[in-house]
């Protein structure tokens, strides 16, 4: 018999949700999740808990390994997709291996956005996008140590809150991409920055970064020099400028990409055997392409895509546009990205 | 004396002569139990003469037998004897020789023991050129088990196991040994005890694997084919012009099964198994222990 081969690129919520649903509806399908990482799907959004002592990565897994075993879902990790041939129906990995697919879901999510002026100093920075990065950061942060956040997206701000709880010093250098994924004009940032200060976060003057270097030998502290003069030191420098869809590898596959992969109501791309979901996709029509996908929406997308992949599409759903960033009565930040 | 006059045989002179020959010391106390007239008696006497001539002490002689009429051979000799298993004489003898090169190792066995059940060992003993002497007693029948067909039984031979006559072509032992690379191959006839003794002597003296094919009747179970009378008529002396270093010539002789020639068919000198094993030891940086070296080698 001919078993449908589903390849899901991306080990996040969308991909995993889709896989789960595909399995429910197509018991015989061959389902493969492809991931660049080493770990099974885990809750990146919960990594703050590391600072509560929950350091064992197993605690963040969404499902235990035998969940996949039982469901017969393969998870190819440490596998970087370098090329997709939609017409031939094949996915090629970095090690030259190719696997075939009948239906492809791209759910690679977003990848870290790093301003050009920081590219040279990445190795002086810490990040918080994966368990590995988070653990590295935590190990590098001494008790009561100070963290300097550049930009400051919602994930970083969430972390900042946690760090404060644990008595760490946190400073933040505002940037037009602060508060991402919320879109907040620099001009409109004032009250929100104030809210941050209320949270005990020292807000520094914005400005381009001139360089980042080790503060002094041994301590591991970093010094950040600002183009406009002045500098700041911290134990950890954490660039946090939000993310952009990680879809570069999809160029030239025949799908239409603006920011993300343009998909229709059923998450299907311009290629009839390619779907996209989560932060990798861009819903049409876009008004200026603004899209804020929280976890629930991402799960929905995965589900919609899966339904369509098995040929049982849901009727169009209204992507619930998330509210803007807001302040509560006593001036605290309100965001769907805070759980 | 050359003259044909009946020389009187004065018993006490004979007895003295035998006594002086010294060969009796190679006999055990046990009276041989072969059928009266059996060629094994000639072989026994030949061996006692040979080892005496070669001045080999009984304690340095090891006689290995298998199963068959030869199996009791060691019991009738005053030598270290090992009555082993059917067809396994050569392996055991190999072990004995490898364990101690000082020993003169004789293997005695019949055509059944050697070429039927034991056939697989002969090529290797031969090619390794282990320095032992294999006295193969070929009477073309199984005697101990009371008369069954053997690998050298002639076609048409009727025995208990071939009541409708043997139809299998007998093998040619000499041809085999020659092609196996035996370094000494000879043939003798039990009815010519003096020549037999000489051949046994040469076979033992040869340094390497010596194979002596001894034709003999089975006086009890074969009254028709290999009788003393028939064999006596068949055998012929080795042609004077035969060159024992010519293997092909030897094979030609071996193929004349109707006119078996008595004497040395082939001989060559090449290193024995022990020589080679000791060479290996030296190459490996060891020293062959003296205790098993031939006295000469010490």
């Amino acid at each position: 018999m001919n078993r449908t081969r589903y390849v899901l690129i991306g080990n996040g919520a969308a991909g995993n949700r889709a896989a789960e649903l595909l399995r429910e509806r197509d018991p015989d399908g061959v389902i493969t999740i492809v991931s660049r990482g080493t770990l099974l799907q885990y809750r990146r959004d919960r990594l703050n808990d590391l600072f509560d002592g929950r350091t064992d990565w197993r605690d963040y897994l969404v499902n235990a390994p035998d969940f996949y075993t039982e469901k017969g879902i393969r998870v190819r990790r440490q596998s970087t997709v370098v090329k997709v041939d939609a017409d031939a129906g094949s996915v090629v990995f970095a090690n030259g291996e190719a696997i075939g697919f009948d239906k492809l879901l791209v759910a690679t999510g977003g990848e870290r956005y790093l301003p050009d002026d920081l590219l040279d100093f990445a190795d002086q920075c810490h990040f918080f996008d994966s368990y590995e990065e988070a653990m590295t950061l935590r190990r590098a942060l001494p008790d009561g140590g100070r963290v300097l956040i550049l930009g400051g997206d919602m994930a970083a701000i969430g972390l900042a809150r946690k760090l404060r709880e644990h008595g760490h010093g946190v400073a933040l250098v505002p940037h037009e991409r602060s508060f991402r994924p919320h879109l907040v004009d620099e001009a409109a940032q004032g009250p929100y920055l104030a809210a941050l200060e209320k949270m005990g976060i020292e807000v520094l003057a914005p400005g381009p970064i001139d360089g980042i270097e080790a503060a002094d030998s041994g301590s591991g502290a970093k010094r950040v020099r600002f183009a406009g003069g002045g500098e700041a030191t911290a134990d950890i420098v954490l660039p946090a400028y939000g993310s952009v869809p990680a879809v570069d590898f999809m160029h030239g596959t025949g799908v239409e990409i603006e920011r993300g992969i343009l998909v229709g109501a059923t998450q299907r791309s311009a290629k009839e055997n390619v779907w996209a979901a989560g932060n990798a996709c861009q819903l049409e029509p876009t008004e200026k392409g603004i899209h804020i996908y929280n976890r629930d929406l991402v799960l929905q997308m995965g589900e919609v895509a899966a339904r369509d992949m098995i040929g049982d599409p849901l009727e169009l759903f209204e992507p619930g546009y998330a509210q803007e960033l807001a302040l509560d009565a006593d001036g605290g930040l309100q965001s769907i990205f805070f759980d | 004396m050359a003259d044909t006059a009946a020389q009187p045989i004065y018993l006490e002179d004979r007895i003295r002569k035998i006594e002086e020959s010294g060969r009796l010391k190679h006999r055990s106390k046990a009276l041989p139990t072969w059928c009266p007239g059996c060629g094994y008696y000639a072989m026994t006497e030949g061996v006692t003469l040979a080892v005496e001539r070669l001045n080999i002490a009984p304690k340095d002689t090891v006689i290995v037998s298998g199963i068959g009429c030869a199996s009791r051979f060691p019991f009738f000799m005053n030598a270290y004897g090992f009555h082993t298993l059917h067809g396994r004489t050569l392996p055991v003898a190999t072990g004995v020789k490898i364990a101690n090169d000082r020993l003169t190792v004789l293997v005695v066995g019949g055509d059944g023991d050697g070429f039927a059940i034991g056939g697989g060992h002969i090529p290797h003993a031969a090619r390794r050129n282990i320095d032992i002497t294999y006295l193969l007693f070929d009477n073309g029948i199984y005697g101990l088990t009371k008369g069954q067909t053997s690998p050298t039984s002639v076609v048409g031979f009727e025995t208990k196991t071939t009541p409708y006559e043997n139809r299998d072509v007998p093998l040619n032992p000499l041809m085999m040994l020659l092609s196996y690379g035996a370094s000494w191959v000879g043939q003798a006839y039990a009815g010519h005890p003096h020549f037999l003794a000489d051949m046994i002597t040469d076979a033992i003296a040869h340094k390497g694997f010596s194979y002596l094919h001894i034709m003999s009747p089975c006086v009890t179970f074969d009254k028709t084919t290999n009788t003393y009378q028939n064999l006596g008529m068949k055998v012929r002396p080795m042609p004077d012009d035969h060159d024992p270093s010519d293997r092909m010539a030897a094979m030609a002789l071996a193929s004349e099964i109707d006119r078996p020639a008595e004497g040395l068919l082939y001989r060559e000198d090449r290193p024995t198994l022990s020589d080679n094993l000791d060479a290996i030891i030296r190459e490996a940086g060891g020293t062959p222990p003296p205790h098993r070296q031939p006295a000469a080698a010490e």
Binding site: D66, F93, E97 | V92, I280, I281, G286
Partner: protein
Amino acid sequence: MSVTDIQVTICGSAGDGTIAAGDILKNTMASIGFKAIAFDLFPAEIRGFGKCVSRTRISSEPVYTLKPEADVLISLDDTHALAHIREAREFGVVIHEECPIAPAAEGSQVAEYIEPGHLPYQLPMRNMSEQTTNSPRSRNMVALGFLAGLLDMPRDAFHATIARKFRGKAKEVSTQNVAAFDAGFDAALAVFKLDDVRFRAPAEGAETGAAVMTTGNEAVVRGCLDAGIDSFFGYPITPASSILEMLAKDMPKRGGRVLQTEDEISAVGATVGAGYTGSRAATSTSGPGLALMTEMIGLGVMAEIPCVLLVSQRGGPSTGMPTKTEQSDLNLAVYGGSGDAQRLVVAPTNVYECYELAGYAFELAETFQTPVIVLLDLYLSNRHESVALPDDPPFALTAGKGLSEHDPDESYQRFAAAADSISPRAMPGEAGGIHTITGLEHGAEGRPSDSADTHAEMNRKRHDKLRGALAYRDLAVTERHGDAGKVDVGVLAWGSTYGETLEAMKQARAEGIRCAAMKVKMLSPLPTAAIEAFMDDCGAVLVPELNHEGQFANLVMSQTGRPVARLSYTTGEPMRPGDILREIRHLAEGRGPRVVAQGPNAAE
């Protein structure tokens, strides 16, 4: 936890250096004081691109067997590793090649089969090897280095071992391998350690350097050499071939003679011949060969000839499973042959005992003038253990009653009666001892006799004399471990299975079950008294063994007349401690003996 207990499985194809990598790993660990046990799996047909698997368990505590699962699985050849992917435990590490020579076909890569529970590490071993050594041949070193780096193993110890291993080869061979190793090591330092596979420095005071990784067959060979073996006759057969190979190399250095015979019959025949002549002689074989040898063993028994047979069992019957382990030749070893042909049979339970028993076998053979079978199995023959063999061997270079012990006034009788039923033995070349021996029943002087009295008396003699072997010098033929005194469950085991038995017993005791185990190193004659004493202490007795019929259980029951619970199955693999533990629990619950003769999976 401060205990280190890591099992590494390296899987590759012949030529990938799989076994070599394993050797370096285990030798390094042994050299720095870890206990290690290892079991390599070779292709049945050497060369070709047969599968090679090297399994090594490294522990800071004594270990007696391999674990069923690996903590780390290294694939040097995915096509072979695929089958072993499940061997890695959940959250175990899988290290595999990132860059195959050609774009690999779908389904040919380990990557595709790595279990969700595994932690995969793709590594461009080929590239790294070629970068550092201009050749892909050192992929194994790269992988090993990566492993060492990943587990924070001491780099220098590996360097030393690598240097040792390639001693004698060209200098650059060693340096290139070290370079490849370091490349891997450094690569590992760069990756985030999920910190799951734990490696701890060996316990303080673990003496380093003394222990060497040794296989059962190597230990047997050392035993033979240390016991002064003179002659050896062998015929190649898995898994005993390496004994012949190693002796062929090492015996000549000590003046010994080795002959590869035309078959096993010839091998044992020559061994008997040499033994008769006073040479310390041995042969080696496996079950099928032993079957061929039984007739000659009977002769050895009858003619009272010392000789040693080193037998490594494999899956049977017939050609069976040449590369699988089994303990199904006990009956053959103990009973094989015609007539009442009792001989000595000793069975080592670990690598050190392979050395010990192989060495003592020659003494036993000479002292009791009989064939001695040293009964190993493939698992014991091929597995490595870190053992420290004595510099000063315990073996006597001569043994047994010689001609000198016979009263020169009396005429010499080879089989003269004696209080201990052992007669002075003369050897060819000795004056005054001339005699003939035979496979026929014989009287005291050796001459054949079929008298009823003689036969009865000689049978008695041949059996009685062997009793002495149960109390020979300081050779312990049984050993008890675990709880002393009365226990709920006693496990009676022999051969390689005793390792799994100890593991299972440890766990059982950890679970609070009063449990003891007894190893039986001599199978013939059977130390019945010691066994019965052990049984007296046991609420129930379990006999685990790798055969279908429960041959050892049968032996014990027939000689003690007491019931035992059996755990006998044949998978071709070593027994799983879990299966033994399961039976121990079963018996501990007071549920009666049961016979478990199915494979482990079916057993629950």
